[in-house]
């Protein structure tokens, strides 16, 4: 995975100062959350369904090798091709080779996080292949030259005014901030692309082992067009995205859309088993399914294997107070929010991503909303520990901890220190109703984006002693 060259803290700082970003994030994540709640309420026994969804994910991963083999055999039986890619470059190589074989000049794409993970667009473009994103959100950020900031709503960091400017500039339509007009303009532009493309590339939500089917869910119809109009369909999936059978699929689908967008089901649930057959008039002549590993098989053997249960619904992003403040781009990674904070270091190595597990207050909101009840806070702690062991602790934190242990093991010194900080902090906070606006270095970073409460008048120890004297 590509590591950004600006530090995590610089990106967070920038995000926190961006007023427009805040407006957009607030509007989007707030709505997502309300809709999720009402959708879950429409499920008679939401808790039982979530429990079952979790059981299915856990069970499948515990025999992933067998299910993958079964899946591959059944895809091939239906006339499809299966490729395993150990890493991103293998995936890009395979897609490029399929494209070469079919003399592909233009590719239309449905939404795929795997393609973002492998930076496939760049790999195709370097072979002079034109790549067109067709999901409206993805199309917008492709025009803007950006990356998705949210798994489900790739462009939710943008306001409609910004998108209006962008479309005006890039596809030469008169400026408008009316979403209806913008959507119509994008439809017209993209319709031609669908009809003329040589290859369609899509993601995969679930692969069904027992039938060799892939399931893609979407609302716009771009996914169905991508997998129906062009001659060749290439589907990209992570090796962990398997479910055993169709009944299991129906369970996963009950929670996926509800958690993602608050719908009972997406508009389109597309089940594809092999390329077109028996004289079918449309659909691709060739279907290639590429299974990307890129570290997942290794993560499976670790303490954070549970993150592979994830079905990419995005609910934990919307619920996360940190994500809601800083947005997706501040994470600097393809997968953002709580799931990204665990998954990114797991796949890309803790040394390069040691800051991400810190991007959480461990409030537990992510675990609360996760449709498969992934214990994200537990894994964040595991990774924080790994970061510390890898010597990836900030110098001021290391110094602070040394000072702390030196002080607390010497009672007289500890007493003096608490008295000092109490009076110091109350003085500093006196003009601002008990809140400190600016801590002295090296703690200044904390107060840059938040206030710090002054210490209480009496320490716990003093209160304890006073109450026991009575």
């Amino acid at each position: 995975m590509h590591t950004p060259n600006v530090t995590f803290h610089e990106r967070v700082d920038k995000a926190l100062r961006d007023q427009i970003l805040h407006t957009a994030l607030d509007r989007a994540t707030g709505r997502f959350q309300t809709m999720r709640l009402s959708a879950l309420a429409s499920l008679e026994d939401a808790d039982a369904v979530r429990d079952r969804a979790r059981l299915i994910r856990a069970h499948t991963l515990s025999r992933l090798d067998a299910y993958l083999e079964q899946f591959a055999t059944n895809v091939e039986k239906a006339g499809g091709h299966v490729h395993f890619a150990a890493d991103a470059s293998a995936l890009n190589e395979i897609v490029n080779e399929i494209a070469r074989k079919h003399d592909v000049k233009t590719v239309v794409k449905g939404k795929s996080m795997i393609s973002e993970e492998a930076e496939l667009n760049r790999a195709l473009e370097s072979n002079d292949i034109r790549v067109v994103e067709t999901d409206l959100g993805e199309y917008i950020i492709q025009l803007a030259g950006e990356t998705p900031s949210h798994i489900v709503g790739p462009a939710i960091h943008k306001t409609k005014e910004q998108i209006g400017e962008l479309l005006h500039e890039k596809i030469s339509i008169p400026y408008t901030d009316d979403p209806a007009q913008m959507t119509a303009a994008a439809r017209a532009k993209l319709r031609r692309e669908f009809l003329e493309a040589d290859m369609g590339i899509s993601g995969v939500n679930f692969g069904i082992a027992e039938t060799g089917t892939i399931c893609l869910v979407e609302n716009e119809g771009n996914g169905r067009l991508t997998t129906t109009a062009p001659r060749v369909h290439v589907a990209l999936m992570g090796i962990e995205r398997i479910v055993p059978n169709l009944d299991d699929l129906s369970v996963m689908l009950q929670v996926l859309a509800r958690s993602a967008t608050g719908q009972k089901i997406t508009v389109y649930t597309n089940l594809i088993t092999g390329p077109r057959r028996n004289g079918e008039g449309d659909g691709p002549d060739e279907l290639h399914i590429i299974l990307l590993d890129n570290g997942r098989s290794r993560v499976l053997g670790t303490e954070v294997a549970e993150i592979l249960y994830c079905i990419r619904c995005g609910a934990c992003l919307n619920a996360c107070p940190v994500y809601r403040e800083i947005g997706g781009h501040a994470y600097g990674s393809v997968y953002t929010g709580p799931v990204g904070a665990v998954l990114t270091p797991a796949l890309g190595g803790i040394a390069a991503w040691n800051d991400l597990p810190q991007a959480s207050s461990l409030c537990g909101a992510c675990r609360e909303v996760c449709p498969v009840r992934i214990d994200i806070p537990r894994m964040l702690l595991v990774e924080r520990d790994q970061a510390t062991r890898a010597g990836k602790m900030a110098w001021w934190l290391r110094l602070g901890l040394h000072l702390y242990s030196f002080t607390v093991t010497r009672p007289a010194l500890f007493h003096a220190a608490t008295t000092f900080s109490r009076w110091g902090s109350r003085l500093a906070a006196a003009p601002t109703n008990g809140w400190i606006k600016r801590l002295p270095p090296p703690l200044i970073g904390w107060t840059r984006s938040r206030d710090f409460p002054a210490f209480a008048k009496k320490s716990f120890r003093e209160q304890f002693e006073a109450s026991h004297k009575k």
């Binding site: 079952r52 979790r54 462009a155 913008m182 716009e220 009972k264 057959r277 028996n278 098989s297 294997a305």
Partner: protein, 227 residues
């Protein structure tokens, strides 16, 4: 072509020896049967859900009534070119003749293997204003249609034109997806594509403002054949 199958599978097997997978069990316990729904209740549910999604439904008691409804809808939309499933695939007898008598032409969906020919054909199909299909089933809990592809049942009919008219027998309603799969356990072996369609195409990618009719049809009308 490069294939890392063995490498990936053997790493998975090695990892599974130490994997920490909370709540993993050897099997997932079987589910209590999804159950049968009562037709009238399912019908009501289906119509309500479809309407919530922005689709419309029309109840017909006979072939004649169904044809009348379809012709009326077509007149409202305008245009004479249609994409449609073959007559044998639709639950309404006499529809094909009625369409022809009213001057509608139905494009044959047959995309060539050749790239240029395929593109040309798609360009002509794109002119159709309405697509007509016959749904295999309806799911009451979500208002969705199950559409199964075949030579006589092109996928593009429910995808390319801005209006989609689906004919659905009310005897083919199921309470939900699980009960549908239970009734058709081998469905994926029959054709390469099974699509569940719940109402008109939509997006909320611009500030989560709902827009209907992005890439798929903006209007979905379901004619319920209740006889």
């Amino acid at each position: 072509m490069r294939d890392d199958r063995e490498q990936v599978l053997s790493q998975i097997r090695a990892s599974l020896k130490t994997a920490h997978l909370p709540t993993a069990r050897a099997t997932v316990p079987p589910r209590v049967s999804a159950g049968q729904g009562e037709r009238a209740a399912m019908l009501e549910n289906f119509r309500r859900e479809l309407e919530l999604l922005g689709g419309l439904s029309f109840l017909a008691q006979s072939d004649e009534e169904a044809i009348e409804i379809v012709l009326k809808l077509l007149r409202d939309v305008g245009g004479k070119e249609l994409l449609s499933w073959e007559d044998s695939e639709m639950p309404v007898r006499g529809l094909g003749d009625a369409l022809q008598a009213s001057g509608y032409t139905r494009q044959k969906v047959k995309l060539a293997k050749d790239a240029a020919e395929r593109k040309n054909k798609l360009m002509t199909l794109e002119r159709a204003t309405v697509g007509i299909t016959g749904a295999l089933a309806g799911l009451a809990d979500t208002g969705s249609l199950a559409l199964l592809s075949s030579a006589a049942r092109p996928r593009l009919a429910s995808l390319l034109p801005p209006t989609h008219i689906a004919l659905l027998q009310t005897s083919r309603l199921f309470p939900n997806m699980a009960s549908f799969f239970a009734a058709y356990p081998d469905i994926t072996r029959e054709a390469s594509n099974l699509a569940f369609v719940a109402g008109p195409s939509r997006t909320a990618d611009i500030e989560l403002v709902l827009q209907r009719g992005v890439h798929g049809p903006k209007f979905v009308h379901v004619v319920l054949c209740d006889w």
